[in-house]
């Protein structure tokens, strides 16, 4: 066991430490918090690279997971164990999270430079990074869940970062509550798993819940509807992923989460946190697929079928909504939801490698797109409506160039850009799925829509005449290099990452499997690969073409007019713009019910429980009043009377002391007489 496996805990620990330090720092210690955050993230990146190198080194020999487990606490005679694991999946995710995170941290220094709460921002960012990294390395479902929740917390804190804005506070609350619903199912699945498998560790030298013995037991045990226990648990855990990754029907929080600052949107809601759901499914894939190991061949497991369908529906659903949005970040948000659907689809039909590859490439180009959008917003003086932008191609060249790279990667421009390869892998796997061809058609339609709405966005923002607003004083300007440099780096990776996943050299998938990889052009000759590549290219060009046709040659004045699609089909456009009215539906049903229920609880609390408490308190008051009156009127009176009698007695006795000698003498005389009498009588008697 090498030292890196032993010290893997440092990777999340350092950002957490940075968060702790930043929490203690004052609001004015901007340089301190930023440098601590960036420094810790750089160290984590370094360690992650070392871990990756280590995995590369021993990955060729054996595909076993290198784990480090220890007991956390004892309950009765059982130990609750947690630990971390270093395997190829962990390594790639670590490198991606730390690298993209570091770039976004650096970007945030420029983006949040004018904000008062700079230090608080970096504290929360570091906390998020630490929790996310902890989630990645976790070998125990419990530890993963803990980090999952912390990540959800930081998402809430960061979405509502500008909490004085009511919309931001509401969005944060919505995000937290929606993901909570998924987390509840996750918790149920976790409890069920523990009760069946007896352990929550993933890998524990054969005793883990993802290893052979436990899986056999889970698969053979049946529960309601004839469903295997493993399927039930897998579906419950997948519900958690639905919430966190914004799949339909729990997608409603992601577009509203754009209320947060753009670096937050880039890091959390594009690259990493929403990818945690996908990562979770990849992590518990043996449970989902009902097979041990990373199966490339699609399994007929029911859980994976559900995953596939949910992913496919989400991909098309969100892409359709993105067509009708006007806020630059909202388009990207819906795009993220759509791409997450693609990832789930890939996991369902193609296995871990297919889904994870798209996750990695998506992280890079979506972060790039968000950061580019942030640069545009910053340059246009906080303007977010794309209809009020235009012609930024000449005014913000670097931003335009990098944004274009990101857009092409997202749409899947053939061969050059990483998005093409990853999306193709998904489409290929979907086309050969044994259960149904419908997800493939849905995914293909989604490709068309993606190209269309991204083209629309880019044309609105960067092409045409510059929009002259009456309020704008200065024209839009390019962002400072601290913001554009990360854009350039990410753009480079968006291109280069494609190389590791081509069919000719499937390094990524074989790396995850722990096998050797060979460069073989015959990979292209596999059934359907070239056909799918061709199909996706055609779809991309059609989408681009329609977009250019509808929006490309319009002069600036017609921007004020309504959208061409809207003119074409106003009712469908309205439906799409309002997100298929899902939000409205939820408000009318669940929210209303919750409000009514809370009113009921308030009534209960106010009248029933409070009434009981009041009764008890008035009883107590009455008892105390009685006790007090007893004290005042009875005890005091007795006491006062005895005091009075003592005083009276004293006064009476003091009359004996008249101060006159003769009265004393008199008394002495009487006493003397009595004494003598007593002596005499006593003597005689």
């Amino acid at each position: 066991m090498t030292w890196i496996v032993h010290s893997l805990w440092l990777v999340p620990a350092m950002p957490l430490l940075a968060a702790g330090l930043s929490a203690l720092a004052q609001r004015t210690h901007r340089l301190l918090t930023a440098s601590v955050a960036i420094g810790s993230m750089s160290l984590s990146l370094l360690l992650s690279l070392i871990a990756l190198a280590e995995v590369l080194r021993f990955g060729s020999q054996d595909a076993t997971k290198h784990v480090f487990n220890f007991g956390w606490f004892q309950v009765g005679s059982e130990w609750l164990k947690i630990g971390w694991v270093l395997d190829p999946l962990t390594a790639v995710m670590l490198v991606m999270v730390t690298f993209v995170g570091l770039l976004i941290f650096i970007y945030s220094v420029g983006y949040m430079a004018h904000d008062d709460n700079f230090a608080r921002f970096f504290c929360f960012l570091s906390l998020f990074a630490g929790a996310m990294l902890g989630l990645v390395i976790a070998n125990s479902l419990l530890l993963l869940f803990i980090c999952w929740e912390i990540v959800g917390l930081t998402s809430y804190l960061l979405i509502g970062f500008w909490y004085q804005r009511p919309s931001a506070a509401a969005a944060a609350k919505k995000a937290f509550i929606t993901t909570r619903i998924g987390d509840l199912a996750f918790l149920l699945g976790m409890v069920w798993l523990y009760s069946q498998a007896g352990t929550l560790l993933f890998y524990d030298n054969g005793a883990g819940c993802l290893e052979h013995t436990a899986l056999i037991r889970l698969m053979t045990q049946t529960t309601t509807f004839g469903m295997a226990a493993s399927t039930g648990i897998a579906l419950l855990i997948f519900c958690g992923a639905i919430g966190k990754s914004g799949q339909v029907p729990l997608h409603v929080w992601l577009p509203d989460a754009m209320e947060g600052p753009t670096p937050v949107s880039a890091l959390i809601h594009a690259a990493t946190m929403v990818a945690a759901g996908v990562f979770l499914v990849a992590r518990v894939y043996p449970l989902m697929s009902g097979h041990g190991g990373f199966d490339l061949s699609p399994a007929s497991a029911p859980a994976l079928k559900v995953v596939t369908w949910v992913g496919a529906i989400t991909a098309v659903f969100a892409a359709s909504i993105a067509v009708a949005q006007d806020d630059i970040k909202r388009i990207l948000a819906y795009s993220t939801v759509s791409q997450l659907g693609y990832m789930m689809l890939g996991l369902g039909v193609g296995g871990v490698a297919v889904g994870m590859f798209h996750l990695i490439t998506h992280a890079f180009f979506k972060a790039l797109l968000f950061m580019g959008a942030g640069s545009v917003i910053h340059g246009c003086h906080e303007e977010q409506d794309i209809r009020r932008m235009g012609g930024l191609r000449k005014l913000m060249p670097i931003t335009f160039a990098t944004y274009a790279v990101g857009m092409l990667a997202l749409c899947g421009f053939p061969l050059l850009f990483s998005g093409f390869w990853s999306k193709d892998a998904i489409l290929h796997a979907a086309s050969t799925w044994s259960a149904s061809r419908a997800p493939f058609y849905l995914a293909a339609f989604g490709v068309l829509l993606t190209a269309f709405y991204m083209t629309r966005q880019v044309i609105y923002v960067f092409f045409g005449e510059s929009y002259r607003s009456e309020q704008a004083v200065t024209p839009p300007h390019e962002s400072p290099s601290i913001m554009t440099l990360p854009l350039v780096i990410l753009a480079g990776f968006s291109i280069l990452l494609g190389l590791i996943g081509t069919p000719a050299w499937p390094w990524f998938s074989t790396f995850l499997d722990g096998q050797q990889v060979q460069f073989d052009l015959r990979g292209f000759a596999e059934s359907g690969v070239l056909a799918v590549m061709l199909l996706s290219t055609v779809l991309f060009l059609i989408g681009l073409g329609i977009g250019w046709l509808l929006y490309g040659n319009k002069p600036a004045e017609s921007r004020a007019a309504s959208d061409p699609v809207e003119q074409f089909t106003p009712r469908i456009f309205n439906l799409l713009r309002n997100g298929w009215f899902v939000d409205a539906f939820y408000t009318a049903t669940f929210v209303r019910f919750t409000t009514w229920f809370s009113v009921l609880c308030d009534w209960l609390d106010r009248w029933v429980f409070n009434g009981a408490v009041q009764i008890i308190s008035s009883l107590t008051l009455g008892a105390s009043w009685m006790s007090r009156s007893t004290d005042v009127f009875v005890v005091n009176r007795i006491f006062d009377q005895s005091c009075q009698e003592a005083t009276l007695g004293g006064r009476l006795l003091s009359r004996l002391q008249g101060g006159r000698v003769q009265s004393y003498l008199r008394i002495i005389g009487i006493a003397f007489a009595g004494f003598v009498l007593f002596l005499i009588c006593g003597h005689h008697g």
Binding site: R666, G669, I670
Partner: protein, 164 residues
């Protein structure tokens, strides 16, 4: 017979000493009482004591009392009664004391004691006794008298002298 007369004089003098209004008259009655008592002592054969009684009591104590009366004379006459309120209690107390004493005397052995002959005591015998058997009490009495007189002088001294 003589006993009865002397006794009557003594008792009358005693009563007078304590009931007269004028204090000097009281002292004179007191002198009469002392003399009567001296007579009784002589009758009992204690001549030295009798003469010592005259010397000391009549010659010194009575004069001393006269001096004290003269020094504490107030100009206004005695207001109200000469007796304090509640004098009946006092008289009753005294009467009770007398009654008890009389009863004790009556029932004691002295009432049936025979009359013994007169003892012949000379002054020389008294002197000898003083110097031999009762020398300690004699010295003590001397000290006592000294202390008492020094004390009396100190107490009765004028206050201005004390401040010096």
């Amino acid at each position: 017979m003589s006993f009865a007369i002397i006794a009557v004089f003594t008792i009358a003098g005693a009563i007078a000493a304590l009931t007269l209004r004028n204090l000097v008259h009281c002292v004179l009655a007191l002198v009469l009482t002392f003399s009567g008592l001296a007579g009784l002592y002589l009758q009992l054969g204690a001549q030295f004591v009798g003469f010592a009684q005259i010397l000391i009591y009549v010659g010194a104590v009575a004069i001393l009392i006269v001096f004290a009366i003269l020094l504490t004379r107030t100009h206004e006459p005695l207001a109200g009664l000469a007796v304090s309120p509640g004098w009946i209690t006092s008289v009753l107390v005294a009467a009770a004391v007398f009654g008890i004493l009389a009863w004790a005397i009556r029932s004691s052995a002295m009432s049936i004691l025979p009359i013994s002959p007169h003892p012949e005591i000379s002054v020389r015998q008294i002197g000898d006794a003083l110097m031999s058997q009762f020398v300690l009490p004699l010295e003590v009495i001397g000290l006592l008298l000294t202390a008492a007189l020094v004390g009396a002088v100190t107490i009765a001294m004028r206050e201005e002298r004390r401040e010096k």
